[in-house]
Amino acid sequence: MSPDQNHIFEEVASRDKPGLVTNLKTYLLRHAQVFFYSLGQLWRTPFSMLMTAAVIGIALALPTGLNLLLTNAQQLSGGWDGAAKVSLFLKQKVSDEKARSLANKIRKLTEVSEVEYISKEKGLAEFKERSGYDAAIKALDENPIPATLLVTPNLQFNDASQVEELAEKLRKYKEVEFVQLDSEWVQRLYAIMDIVSHGVVILGFMLSIGVLLVVGNTIRLAIQNRRDEIVIVKLIGGTDAFIRRPFLYTGFWYGFFGGLLALILVFFSLLLMSGPVENLAGLYESQFSLHKMDFGTILTILMLSIGLGLGGSWIAVGRHLRDIEPR
């Protein structure tokens, strides 16, 4: 045997043991390689990769989009809540003078920022103008419209329960016939939104489980397809961690692309809706425009999606890798 044929063995003796730093570097390099290798593997079958990513994307876009709409609705109603007013309808027999003095009394309350007095006559004029029941009202003997005090609560006191308290207080004046809270429907809206937000959480939870299963199943199939390779790697000394790694990174990529797709879907949905919403806001003379996704939301969705991808593949790998052993 010639000396050069022997060099593979001679190297054994000459080679120094790699140091800790070298080992760590090699380890990280290997991770980076598998990271991009698994991406390359997915890229080879773009169609099936996109299919899986699309399923994840749609599943995540749904709760994300709903949640965003809900946030918008809450902001919108928050704007209305600030303008919540209390209408005091005074008794018919209360004179103009007494009504004015009551208005002054109420104006002095700390909870109140403004009181507008609408006399019976002014109220009638407004009603005529707006309703068009001119002829019908003329037929009546006396003015049916009560004098009204429009009370705007102080900004520090415009929380729903505080406005309710104020209304209770105002109801006690003997001149007052009837108190109406303008914010009642806002409170109902809040209650409805509360139900919807719980619904979104439940929906999000179920769809997340769905994503977990989709990724798990995809990885399971990938494991089945690479069965021979896994056996060979086990035969030449591959640890479970080594075999697991590419599948986990594949799960990571599915999650990443699924999350990206979800964000794109939500973004374009918002774009489509913002036009009509601004139209509607314009009709209400409101400056409202759709609240876009902020950086935090984007990061959360991406992280969640990647987490689900990793989790799904972890479950599949744990379940199926154990069964594959050399025979």
């Binding site: 044929q5 021979d228 390779e229 000394g237």
Partner: protein, 221 residues
Amino acid sequence: MIQFIQASKRYPGGHDALQNVSFEMDTGEMAFLTGHSGAGKSTLLKLISLIERTTRGQVIINGENTSKVRKGRIPYFRRNIGIIFQDHQLLFDRTVYDNVALPLIISGQPPREIARRTRAALDKVGLLNKEKSFPITLSGGEQQRVGIARAVVNKPSLLLADEPTGNLDPELSWEIMQVFEQFRQVGVTVLVASHDIDMIERLGHRTLSLKDGRLVQDTVE
């Protein structure tokens, strides 16, 4: 290097693949394992590489009792053993180079080391010029040599071969055996399962004969 002490293997279902097999092989020794098919050759190799475990008796490899090797340590245990298969067991979606480099990647060698040792192993089996080819484009003999390069690239102290020349013509078989012979000369223990009696006799190494799971002949030099 290899020590079998009254080793038996009974498969689930009651089939006795090996019964009370005892023998010893020294470091740097080369031996053939013969017997008709089903005599237990493959099972014996599987006991050494911990693909199977003994049901009775002991197998001690390089001073380590295989029955004491925990499942999690099996990969590290196998890195010291080079295994060559009749059907090569190559990865067909990777180049010859990547196939041979795999054991080094698995054991976490630095990249420079991987390149050097992979080329050295390919050079050793005379396939350095094919490193960028895919296994499917190679002949049976060449594929088997890729398998050998992969088995030795990690510099194992023990080389196992299960019918390595089963599908090859006599001339190629002889070449493969010469490669094994070279490894033996540099201190690697080599155990080859084969039923090619002619060639075994020409090489004149120690021969262990199995029959129905029992060791019936051992021509200790």
